[in-house]
Structure formats: structure tokens, C-alpha cells
């Protein structure tokens, strides 16, 4: 699982595609906006944002689209970073909220200084001043993933849900989705335990191995809705040499992909971080330079957190589409970007 090299290899493809699109659009704006893409903290999931920002800056002629990371997963560090970037002249922000509500007071201040902001990859809790939330429909993704696991189990058995940081706004939604999918089998499939806070390497390693060690025979399936537990679970099952327990993970880490290939995992729910970064930057640039505003009655999706949600796309990777899933994601990104303006924005 070498995140750095993967980054390089995977950059080649989108660069090429983006260059084509940029030419097609032919409407490079020479805008002097400075846009910041800010995750909740250091985490491999957000790595593609850096490249997405560079591509968007090139394709849409934006002065700067920078990827700035707080040193730890702490809301006050993220808030401090945002406040400091405002001081440094950044005038548009794509933020993964460290806390769904905690972020709103910062966003309020940004909009008071008429600085637009978007919630990317994770939503802020309504009422919020973010223009809209553009990310994976985590609820839907977890639901589809659990359905895929139930299918792999043949419709019955006991499953354990490996979830991310409790402080992450999406975790609660994912836990509800897993419960809903399991309840639809009215008793055939039961959720034995939600193990939370496993989105850090050491905690994941310790908890997942302890779980498998202690309850290996009583579990039939694992649904992981966080990046790191998916990787650790794939490694542990391979180490155990156990193909009985089915695993459906999330994200497309090489170890998880290899586990699917070798039969230790049934599949994984891919998300579209690159698209979130790329389209996010594109929209923020339009909002910051005032050329467009968000349509009030745009076709947003309603979720438990917010009424203005746009899905950045998700799909199940299994043996069938393991080789081609990247192109499918690319198609999704280009479709969203191309149709975004007339679907969601009113522009001068």
C-alpha cells in the first residue's frame, strides 16, 4: 500500500483527461482567487485533493488552489488554520468539517466577510452558511456496502461494523445505514457490534486483531466504512488465512484491491475524493469572483444533516470491475463538472 507512488501513477490519468476537458471548455478564467481545500486532519483519503486542486487551478486559470492540512484531527486546529489562511488572503474555502456543528461558527464568520465556503466529503449540520455539501452520500454508500456484504453472506449471519472516528460527522450516518440494511433482512442478518474510533493505525491494529482473535468463529461478515480499518481488516484476514469471514471495505487502497483479487474481501465502496476536490475548486472560483450564485431551488438531495447535498458519486468495486473502476469514476467527475453550472448555479 504505497500511497505516495500510487498518487504519482494515478495522477497521470486524470491529468490527461482534465487537460482535454480544459481545452474543450476553452473558458479559462484568469481569476486571482486564492482557494484553500482543508481536510479535518491528516488522512490518506484526502491525498487526491492536492492534485485535484492543481488540476483545477490549471484548467480554470485560478491563481491558487492550495491543499492545507491541520497537524492533528482537532477542530480548534482546523479553525485556527482557516482563520490564519483568511489573514493570508485566501478568499474561498472547501472544508471537510472537523465537527458538523463546530464548523458552522467559523463558516458564519467567513460569510460575514463574504468569503464563500463549501462542505466537501462531509457535510455541515443545517442551519449552516456553507453554499452546499458536495460529497459521498455516506449513508447511501454504507447502505449499498452492507447490502453487498449481506448478498456475499448468502442473506444470513452475524456482521460487525468497523467505523471511523466518532468525532467525524459521517460516522453516525454510516452506523444508521448499516443498521437499516441489516434490519431489512428482518433478523437473518444481525449487527453484533459497532467498533468505532478505528480510523487510526494503532487503534485499528489493536482493536481489529483483538476482535478477530476473540470472536473469529462467531462473526460471519465485516462491513468497514472507514479507510484504515478496511486496510487493517484485509491484512488480518490474509494473515489468518481466513476466507470464511466476508469483508466489504471502503476506498481503493492497494491492499484492499489485492484482498479482493485473492478472495479475502468481497468488495469495497469506492468514493470520489478527486472529483470532490476538482469540482469543488471549480465552483468556489465561480462563487468567489461573483460570476455565479447558487440557485435556491436547485435539485439538491435531502439528507439527515442538510437539505443542500450533491452526491459526488460512489460505486462498488468487486472482481468484476476491479480493473476499470478508475475510468468509471473519471466519467462521473466529468459529468458532474460539465452539468454543474446550469443545474445548480445562476451565472451572469
Amino acid at each position: 500500500m504505497n500511497n505516495r507512488h500510487r498518487g504519482a501513477r494515478s495522477r497521470a490519468l486524470p491529468m490527461l483527461a482534465a487537460a482535454l476537458m480544459g481545452l474543450a471548455a476553452g473558458s479559462a478564467y484568469a481569476s486571482d482567487n486564492k482557494i484553500a481545500l482543508i481536510p479535518g486532519g491528516p488522512h490518506p483519503y484526502f491525498a487526491p485533493w492536492e492534485q485535484a486542486g492543481k488540476d483545477a487551478a490549471k484548467d480554470f486559470g485560478i491563481a491558487a488552489v492550495d491543499f492545507k492540512v491541520p497537524s492533528e484531527w482537532k477542530l480548534n486546529l482546523q479553525t485556527e488554520l482557516v482563520e490564519s489562511l483568511v489573514t493570508q488572503g485566501y478568499n474561498a474555502f472547501g472544508i471537510f468539517p472537523g465537527d458538523a456543528v463546530g464548523i458552522n461558527s467559523t463558516v458564519e464568520e467567513l460569510s460575514a466577510n463574504n468569503i464563500p465556503s463549501l462542505a466537501l466529503a462531509g457535510c455541515a449540520q443545517d442551519p449552516t452558511k456553507v453554499s452546499f455539501c458536495f460529497g459521498t452520500d455516506v449513508y447511501n454508500s454504507a447502505y449499498l456496502g452492507t447490502k453487498a456484504l449481506i448478498e456475499a453472506l448468502g442473506g444470513k449471519g452475524k456482521i460487525v461494523h468497523l467505523a471511523g472516528l466518532l468525532v467525524d460527522p459521517n460516522t453516525k450516518l454510516r452506523m444508521d445505514a448499516v443498521e437499516k440494511a441489516a434490519s431489512e433482512t428482518n433478523g437473518a442478518v444481525t449487527v453484533v457490534q459497532h467498533i468505532t474510533d478505528t480510523d487510526a493505525q494503532e487503534a485499528a491494529d489493536q482493536k481489529i486483531n483483538a476482535l478477530l482473535g476473540a470472536q473469529k468463529d462467531e462473526i460471519d461478515g465485516l462491513i468497514s466504512t472507514a479507510y484504515i480499518p478496511s486496510v487493517v481488516a484485509a491484512k488480518s484476514l490474509r494473515n489468518l488465512g481466513d476466507k470464511r469471514i466476508k469483508l466489504v471495505g471502503i476506498d481503493d487502497d492497494q491492499i484492499v484491491l489485492d484482498a479482493i483479487k485473492d478472495g479475502f474481501a468481497a468488495g469495497t465502496m469506492a468514493q470520489n475524493p478527486y472529483g470532490q476536490g476538482y469540482v469543488g475548486a471549480y465552483v468556489l472560483d465561480l462563487l468567489a469572483s461573483g460570476t455565479c450564485t447558487v440557485k435556491a431551488e436547485a435539485p439538491f438531495v435531502k439528507t439527515p444533516q442538510t437539505e443542500r447535498f450533491i452526491d459526488s458519486g460512489t460505486l462498488l468495486i468487486s472482481n468484476a470491475n476491479a480493473a476499470t473502476y478508475k475510468d468509471d469514476l473519471k466519467k462521473i467527475t466529468t459529468e458532474i463538472q460539465a452539468s454543474f453550472k446550469d443545474k445548480y448555479l445562476d451565472c451572469k
Binding site: R4, Q193, E202, N209, L211, G213, A214, Q215, E218, K235
Partner: protein
Amino acid sequence: MTNNMTLGQRFLANEWSALAVAILVGLVVLASMSPAFLTEFNLYVMLRSFCVVLIVAFAQMLTLAVGHMNLSVGALGGLVAIAVGGMMEKWGFPVPVAVLAGLAIGAAGGLINGLLTVRTGINGFIITLATASAFTGINLGITESIPFYNLPAGFVAFGTGRLYALPYLLLPPVLIALALAFFLARTVPGRQLLAVGGNPHAAELSGIPRDRVIVMAHTLSGLLAGAAAILAVAQLGSAQPSIGVDWLLMSFAAPIIGGAALTGGHISVAATALAVVLIVIIQNGMVLAKVDPYWVQFLLGALILAAVGLNRLRAVRAGGA
């Protein structure tokens, strides 16, 4: 005096008797509660998580021996972890070279702690709190919180390799424990270290170079923190900047529960090791019993207070020895 105590009194008097009993009770209860407890894989999982924690406890134990504290155990560990990871991934150092360099960095960190503490004569707590922040700063500065993922296969294999229930990772901690017990019991510097802890003024009057001994204790503590970090990198298979973040409480809990006197001069390698076993059993037991993981945090604090209370009781009963 001690010579007329019966064997039973002698057994109860020493530190690790209570721990041994607690561990036995724990094992029996958990084995009966779930058959999976004694399976090969679960024993392997427990032993694996035992290794790193034990060396971290030894690192703190050495500074407690001279009556000092080392708050930079975790931060130094994190720094050594990314240093070793970086050396192996970025500069392609062979594993033994990277490991030795890592240990050297750990020792150097400990040496800095020792020299600063002795030179300023200030309580080790504040100095190591400051150096802890400095080490973390260097760590984050270099890595920007991005781990080093692809480490040499052999090194990672060592982390996950096992012989039935015995992880390869167990070898270094066992060797370190034996070496430490021997060092403290039979070598001159080891005894001097305990002497300085027991009665610093008396040690100085007896010609023991007190400052040098304190610096030695901190240096060894840093070295062990480095060793623990290298094991953690092997275990996780990647050099995470966050290694060591949650070591502080554990590094104090085990030696104290193992009867270490806070004023220095009295530590027990065996009791500390047993204390770590007890803590690991509790943690594993709780996952088994599907208990909320936050109870571990709560129980650790309770165990420390219980151990401290027990020590006070034993000291008062023995006539304020």
C-alpha cells in the same frame, strides 16, 4: 526483622505476588467466559500487543529508578519511528543500519533530557515536557503527519511473523527484560543507579557520581523508547507519526502497579512485566466481553490509584520503612 518471616509472609511481602494472583484470576475468568480466549490466534494477538508496551514501561521505569520522570517517552518514540521509516523508505538504508541509527537517536534524546535535567537541577517533569513537544515538533515538521508506508518486506514480515502463538516481536522485549534485570542486579552502574534513586545524598557521599548516573538513566530510557518505537513500526508495518501518542499513561501505570517507588530507588523488572501482562489481559478481556473500550482508560487510572494506595499501606504497615 526479615529473617524470622515465614515463607508465606515472604511471598506476600514482595511486590509481584499480588499481581501474579490477579493475573491467574483474570486468565481463569476470561477462559471460562469465552472459548476463543485461549485460541492460538488470540494468544498471539495478546502477546503482540504486550511487546511494545513492556519496553515503554521499562523506559519509564529506568527514570523512576533515579526518582525522575520522562514525559518524552512517547514523543521520542514517534520521532525514532519516522526516522527509521524515513531511512528505510527514502534513503534505502538496510534494516540493521536503520535500526541502529534509530536506537542512537533514542539514546541521544535521552541524553539531552539527562543533561538538561542535571545541568538546570529542575524537576525532570518540566524538562521532558518541553523536550517532548520539541521531539513531536521535529517529527511533524519532517513528515507533515504523512506516514512512511512501504518498508522493506523482511522488516514488515518480522512484525507479523509468528511461531504458533509466539510472535517474533516477543524476542526483543524478552531479551531486554533479562538484560535489564541483570544490569540492575549485578552490574556496578546498575546498582549505582538504584543507589542514587534510594538516597541521592548518601550515594554522593559514598563517592558515586550522582549526575553521571542520572544522565545514564535518562539515556537508557531514551534508548528503550527508541527500541519500543522500532518494534511498533514493525508491528504496524508502516512508520506512523502518531506512534507513541498514547504511551504516557501506560509508561507510568505498569511500573507503579509493579510497585515502583516514586521517590526512586525501588523498581522491579519482574513486577513491571507482570503489571503489563495484567493490563493487556484486561484490555483483551474487555474486547471479549464487548465492553465499551473507554473502560480501559478508566480502569488504568483506577489501577494506578489502587497500586499507589497499596504501596502506602505496605509502607505504613512496615513502620514507615
